[in-house]
């Protein structure tokens, strides 16, 4: 009867799973991105620059979600990759006296490449060794702690505690993005590209395979999947995107410092993803924007208040909203609807 499995017509190879039309998450993404780009018309240059920063941090959150949201393995060290991107860009464009027309692209290559290489090496040893879950998280945590110490300690290259200033604005193919509007659209462009690209790819069979590996890795291997390689590739891609976000971030702000490659940043990005809802891709983007506003406000009141707030947030997050705020809100809404339904 397996001959019945063979058909006479050529096989319809599939990448998409869903029926015709856009998925809700894609629609939400389009609306959100449209709103963001519309907002840019109503604000001044200074605010636009901070929006640019937020969008790059949102890209960073997206990169974590691509890995954590799909494989279920938490990386506590994504700031390492963001920071490597930023420092890679900074060191390349400042210390080597490259022709300004090229410098940003070279910096980008170094930043993204550096992040990808570190992820590939660390990931190879850990993932192929069968390390998953908690152990994986600890190793990435240690990676960030050490990367931070290197950033602080290797001052000849990294500028130590004070970091490096003078990262030139992003410039490529004759265009310079120093104008706040251009800078904003550069960030917006990168975010949009990677958001929709990942929505597309992860919405298809690739996403299913990752979900399968997450459910039961052994079973996935019995189906023939090279699961370690797939996990490694996802990790490296996620790291590369984080590196890209970091590299462009450095060109926007103009300087890098060790707090770009620190545990606190790693935990912040986890918060952004968790608040938005891990696995949804657009959720973390929204989460970053929302939380960052809060972060900004609280930090300006009292510098120490932010770590306390984050600490409390984590504790609350786990005790009250284990699935992320949106899921909690959805459940609340369902309960309300249920209650109202019973009344009528």
């Amino acid at each position: 009867m397996t001959q019945a499995l063979n058909s006479s017509s050529p096989a319809r190879i599939v990448t998409k799973v869903r029926p015709r039309g856009l998925r809700p998450v894609t629609i939400v993404s389009l609306v959100v991105m449209a709103a963001i780009s519309a907002m840019s018309l109503f604000v001044d240059g200074y605010t636009l620059s901070s929006y640019r920063d937020v969008l790059l941090l949102a890209l960073f959150a997206l990169s974590l979600d691509i890995f954590w949201g799909r494989t279920g393995i938490l990386s506590f060290g994504h700031a390492t990759f963001f920071g490597l991107g930023a420092y890679g860009m900074a060191v390349t464009t400042i210390r080597f006296g490259i022709d300004p027309a090229w410098a940003s692209l070279a910096g980008l290559a170094v930043g993204v490449g550096g992040a990808a290489v570190v992820a590939a090496i660390v990931g190879f040893f850990i993932l192929y060794g069968g390390v998953r879950g908690a152990y994986f998280t600890i190793v990435t945590l240690a990676l960030t702690i050490i990367a931070n110490q290197i950033a602080v300690g290797w001052s000849e290259v990294t500028g130590g505690d004070s970091g490096l200033i003078g990262v030139p604005p992003f410039a490529a193919f004759g265009l310079s993005f120093d104008d706040p509007v251009y800078g904003f659209y550069l960030a917006f462009g990168f975010l949009a590209i990677f958001l929709f690209l990942s929505l597309w790819i992860l919405g298809g069979r690739t996403g299913l395979v990752l979900a399968a590996i997450r459910d039961d890795e052994i079973k996935a291997r019995t189906l023939g999947y090279r699961t370690q390689f797939i996990l490694l590739a996802t990790f490296v891609i996620s790291a590369a995107i984080a590196g890209l976000a970091g590299a462009v971030y450095a060109t926007g702000s103009g300087f890098v410092a060790p707090d770009l490659i620190a545990i606190l940043l790693s935990t912040e990005v986890i918060v952004w993803v968790a608040v938005g809802g891990s696995g949804t891709l657009i959720g973390p983007v929204i989460g970053t924007i929302v939380v960052w506003q809060l972060q900004d406000r609280i930090s300006s009141i009292n510098y120490a208040a932010w770590p306390v707030a984050i600490g409390l947030f984590f504790i609350l997050l786990v005790l009250v909203f284990p699935d992320g705020l949106p899921a909690y809100v959805v459940r609340l809404a369902q309960k309300l609807r249920g209650a109202m339904g019973r009344q009528s």
């Binding site: 938490l74 506590f76 660390v122 040893f125 850990i126 192929y128 060794g129 069968g130 390390v131 879950g133 908690a134 152990y135 998280t137 600890i138 190793v139 945590l141 240690a142 990676l143 702690i145 050490i146 110490q149 290197i150 602080v152 300690g153 290797w154 545990i263 935990t267 986890i270 968790a274 120490a304 770590p307 306390v308 984050i310 600490g311 409390l312 947030f313 984590f314 504790i315 997050l317 786990v318 005790l319 284990p322």
Partner: protein, 282 residues
């Protein structure tokens, strides 16, 4: 010759510190499979207990006695209130304990101020062996740590609690069927881990500046000790401490400390590749 001797003693110092810090973590991780990211903060709490004791005129020895009590109580309360709720979910445990560590750091900083605190050790001066001199306090530290390690190991083997603990590490279900109360065992194990880390904090305090953030350094290293050595086994902790502590000390003689630590990380990752459960797992 003197170089070798002082390198050996420096290694032993770091190994001893890691031994005490990691022992508690090994139990917590081995038994409850909980990643306690606040473990470094227990060390800090121990150090600050000593600061507080000495600020009120107490001696180092008093601090050494009070700190583990403080640590034990603190650990007990934390376990019952928070940790027990997240024990089933490693991600939640990570987030909660990380949040806790941030809170503890800030509270300590608010209470004691941002300036580094100094404590005085019980011995100043050096011991001499021929014309070789070595700080007496460090020798004390090594001796004390080994003794503490031995005592805790024996206690775990002989005592009722130790038996319950080791049985629960082997199989939580089986031991509960045999009458071991898992909640009590978990709570006491966690508290014991916290107490041990606090003792380590007291021992470390005279060697360094006591700040609210000193724990982070020991967090990464102690996790490596447990991962590389093997979670849930005393032998694993000894093996892990020796490797991590020894390697780091030796390397620091040749290369800058940051590169040394990165190298230890690299070695640990490579070991994990081939021995994902550690060298001497339970």
């Amino acid at each position: 010759m003197h170089m070798a001797l002082s390198m050996l003693l420096n290694s032993l110092t770091l190994i001893s510190i890691l031994l005490i810090v990691s022992m508690g973590l090994a139990i917590i991780f081995g038994l409850m499979n909980i990643i306690n990211l606040a473990h470094g903060e227990f060390v800090t709490i121990g150090a600050f207990t000593l600061v507080a004791v000495q600020a009120h005129g107490g001696s180092f020895w008093l601090g050494l006695v009070v700190a583990p009590v403080v640590g034990y109580v603190f650990g007990l309360v934390l376990e019952r209130l928070l940790i027990s709720r997240v024990a089933k979910n490693p991600l939640h445990a990570i987030l909660v304990t990380w949040g806790l560590s941030l809170l503890i750091q800030q509270v300590l900083q608010l209470t004691f101020g941002p300036e580094p605190q100094r404590v005085t050790g019980p011995f100043s001066g050096s011991m001499s062996l021929g014309d070789f001199q070595y700080p007496a306090y460090r020798i004390f530290l090594v001796a004390f740590s080994f003794a503490a390690f031995a005592i805790v190991t024996v206690a775990l083997r002989k005592s009722r609690f130790g038996l319950d603990l080791r049985a629960s590490i082997q199989s939580a279900e089986m031991s509960s069927v045999m009458g071991v109360d898992p909640n009590r065992t978990n709570a006491r194990a966690f508290a014991l881990g916290a107490a041990l880390a606090s003792v380590a904090g007291v021992l470390i305090a005279p060697l360094t500046a006591v700040t609210a953030f000193m724990g982070v350094n020991y967090l990464a290293r102690s996790f490596f000790v447990v991962l590389v050595g093997g979670a849930g086994s005393i032998g694993g902790v000894a093996a892990g401490s020796t490797i991590i502590g020894g390697l780091e000390t030796v390397l620091t003689y040749q290369i800058p400390p940051t590169v040394a630590q990165a190298s230890v990380l690299a070695v640990a990752i490579i070991i994990l590749r081939f021995r994902p459960r550690g060298i001497l797992p339970a």
